[in-house]
């Protein structure tokens, strides 16, 4: 408890204040009704490959676990969920909630385009937005915004975590299989950048197509795709998953598959069992009736970050809280070990990441041996010297 925070800690709070006398403090939560990312996608024959749930339960879990902190602070903490019909009505929703309740901090579950538009419209509205579900690198680079904080890791961070793992395993020669979707390109591009950063060699980056056409066999047959050149590991960039699920065990050589199948880099996983994670996972499962995934964790973390700022500043003023969140005194317990804090150069939450299979966490990044001159967490993602974000 260093000098900067000692004031807040000297607070000794009598418990006489009943809930009724507590000052209300509202945190906003926004989502979009027709968000395409949550549309149910059925694969052939009615199989459901991916079911994405709205991460609101994560925010709810965080609020629940903050009730006693509220008691100690004399605050009545509230979470206000607003479902906007379209991205275009998000900004109006923020202004309404702010005017009704005084809320200045908003957890936003939206994609890159919606987040960017929202941050631009609200630039001078004195609110702070928390991105909990969009990994796009451009939001941390050229399209960064001062009023937009990123709790969810960027693609660059996730692919750096994977590249560290491959380098640590001495799997230096990588064959990349890349799908046709924009997200596949983004994944492959991020990985290419990470490969250069950590000294991996991409021996080939081959596009694949989902098809049975024999004339396309060079692009749809996994054995042919993986026959050459010689490689140690296959990196799969397949955001859809329909092709990718048939890649493991079907390669020409016995080679592990990583990326979007096999070993995957994530912000969170239900099998993570260190740093208090089992307790958080159990609390979340009890509340939501399902396992916690990345966006749930980010929604949880966003609310807990705001509560942490309330605790450490002893203030409810927007400026004081924002300054604390963006400052270097923040040591946020992300339940992943190293204390997390926001990078001042692009508002990204620096945090450890998990490399996991379907049922186990193989490693936590940054891996041992990857060093950094100030904070090893900054070995993941865009570091200050190469940042092109101008806040």
């Amino acid at each position: 408890m260093r000098a900067a925070t000692i004031l807040a800690l000297l607070l000794f709070v009598p418990l006489a204040a009943a809930a009724a006398e507590r000052t209300p403090f509202t945190i906003g939560y926004l989502e979009i009704a027709d968000d395409a990312r949550y549309a149910e996608v059925r694969s052939y024959a009615g199989l459901k490959l991916k079911t994405r749930h709205r991460p609101y339960a994560g925010a709810e879990a965080a609020l629940r676990e903050s009730r006693v902190i509220g008691r100690a602070l004399g605050l009545d903490l509230k979470l206000l969920r607003t479902v906007a019909a379209t991205p275009a009505t998000l900004a109006a929703a923020v202004r309404d909630r702010r005017d009704e309740t005084g809320a200045r901090f908003f957890v936003v579950d939206a994609d890159a385009a919606a987040l960017l538009a929202l941050a631009d419209v609200l630039r001078d509205d004195g609110v702070l937005l928390f991105n909990i579900s969009e990994p796009a690198d451009r939001l941390r680079r050229a399209d960064c915004r001062a009023g937009l904080m990123h709790v969810i890791p960027s693609r660059a961070m996730l692919s750096d975590a994977m590249a560290q793992y491959l380098a640590a395993q001495n799997w230096h020669r990588v064959l990349v299989l890349r799908g046709p979707l924009p997200d596949d390109t983004a994944l492959a591009d991020a990985f290419a950048r990470s490969a250069t950063k950590f000294g991996l060699r991409i021996v080939a980056a081959k596009p694949f197509v989902l098809s049975n056409d024999p004339r396309e066999r060079g692009r749809n047959n996994v054995r042919l795709l993986t026959a050459d050149p010689a490689h140690d590991v296959v990196f799969l960039a397949d955001s859809d998953g329909e092709f990718g699920r048939y890649v493991p065990y079907q390669t020409h050589q016995p080679r592990p598959v990583v990326g979007t199948e096999g070993l995957i880099a994530s912000a969170w996983h239900w099998a993570w069992e260190r740093h208090g994670a089992p307790q958080l996972n159990q609390r979340f499962e009890k509340l939501a009736g399902r396992e916690m995934v990345d966006a749930d964790w980010a929604a949880w973390a966003a609310v807990r970050l705001i509560v942490e700022a309330l605790t450490r500043t002893g203030s409810t003023e927007f400026e004081a809280l924002s300054a604390y969140l963006k400052g270097d005194a923040l040591t946020f317990d992300a339940y992943k070990g190293n204390p997390a804090s926001f990078r001042p150069w692009n508002n990204q939450l620096r945090q450890p990441l998990l490399l996991h299979t379907h049922n186990a966490v193989a490693e936590r990044a940054p891996l041992d041996g990857f060093l950094h001159r100030t904070d090893i967490l900054d070995t993941l993602g865009v570091d200050r010297p190469e940042s092109d974000c101008r806040l």
Partner: protein, 344 residues
């Protein structure tokens, strides 16, 4: 590696079964009995270690410091404590929602206190009649009557309550809440929370100085021990740990002990793989002792000549000679050792 461990645990369990059947165990352990203290059971010289991942208890012979037994217990055993006359010990099992009570002399299960919500750690009231248990999942601390197993009081706390410590007069009990960064000061009689004190990130365990004027609290993610003045419930100091060659985020203190004379504190530094030795009066770090991987649990022998350290991620116990501050030996135990109980 896991395979080997499980096989070892199984064969150990089989051996115990045979020994118990032959009645050989009691004879075996009588041989280790040391001098008797008044109003206390004859010490067996055994050391019990809870292994939270293998759900077993390892038994070490304190004279030779070798593992002599490992037996299955309830699921995810963590906190371990004697009763007042040291004839029994309690083990909190979070995954079974139970506190198991064992007889010290025979290591036989004699009672199960059920319907505990995820018990993690606990402390015995000075009169020996109650346990105050931190219920990790429930965000409460419960007052449990040891004899009847009934819950007679409950306090609503921050998330993930962890360390529990009674004052000597039994009037006050301190409970740390890991996720809320709070130390709760609880009036034991009616389990009313008297004060919530904010401390460093992720508070874990406590130690009181012998005069009970200072409460020391480890703050795991802050990498420090915070010191609370017990009269005013205010933070009056802190000690930041940083063994040479480590970065701040690698230092995650958990368990801590203060010697009976109040001069020295030992702090297990978790990810930094060291135990810190602290001069209590000066709040100065005297030395860092290298131990196994991620040390958490600590226990001192009665004469305070040996410090036992549970290394959660190397599945072993380091045994430190407190005079020379050197590790004498490390002994493999079960998976993820947590708590240590020394019957000497």
């Amino acid at each position: 590696m896991y395979g080997t461990r499980f096989r070892r645990a199984v064969s150990a369990a089989a051996r115990v079964g045979a020994a118990r059947f032959l009645g050989g165990q009691a004879v075996l352990f009588c041989a280790f009995a040391l001098a008797t203290a008044p109003a206390r059971a004859e010490p067996t010289g055994r050391i019990y270690v809870t292994n939270e991942k293998s759900s077993t208890i390892t038994v070490l012979d304190g004279r030779s410091d070798t593992a002599v037994d490992e037996f299955a217990t309830c699921a995810r055993p963590r906190g371990i404590h004697f009763n007042l006359d040291r004839t029994r010990f309690f083990v909190g099992c979070a995954d079974d929602n139970v506190i198991a009570v064992y007889e010290v002399a025979t290591a036989k299960l004699v009672q199960r206190i059920r319907k505990m919500e995820e018990p993690e750690t606990f402390d015995l009231s000075p009169d020996g009649r109650y346990l105050v248990v931190s219920n990790e999942e429930d965000a409460t601390a419960t007052k449990v009557n040891v004899e009847t197993g009934r819950i007679e009081g409950e306090a609503e706390l921050g998330e993930e309550p962890e360390g529990v410590l009674f004052t000597r007069d039994g009037r006050t009990v301190y409970v740390a809440s890991e996720a809320a960064n709070l130390v709760h000061v609880i009036n034991f009689e009616d389990m009313e929370v008297r004060a919530d004190v904010f401390v460093g990130t992720r508070p874990r365990r406590f130690a009181l100085t012998p005069d009970e004027k200072e409460l020391w609290v480890s703050a795991e993610l802050a990498g420090e021990v915070d010191i609370i003045d017990t009269a005013s419930n205010k933070l009056i100091g802190d000690i930041l740990f940083l063994p040479p060659g480590f970065r701040r985020e690698q230092v995650t203190p958990v368990d801590l002990l203060i010697t009976r004379d109040g001069t020295t504190a030992y702090v297990a530094l978790g990810r930094a793989n060291h135990v810190a030795v602290v001069d209590v009066a000066r709040r100065a770090i005297l030395e860092y002792i290298l131990v196994g991987k991620r040390p958490w649990g600590l226990a001192l022998t009665r004469d305070e000549s040996r410090l036992y350290v549970a290394n959660g991620l190397s599945d072993d116990i380091s045994i430190i000679d407190t005079k020379s501050r050197r590790v004498l030996k490390s002994v493999p135990v079960g998976m993820v050792p947590y708590g240590i109980l020394i019957d000497d």
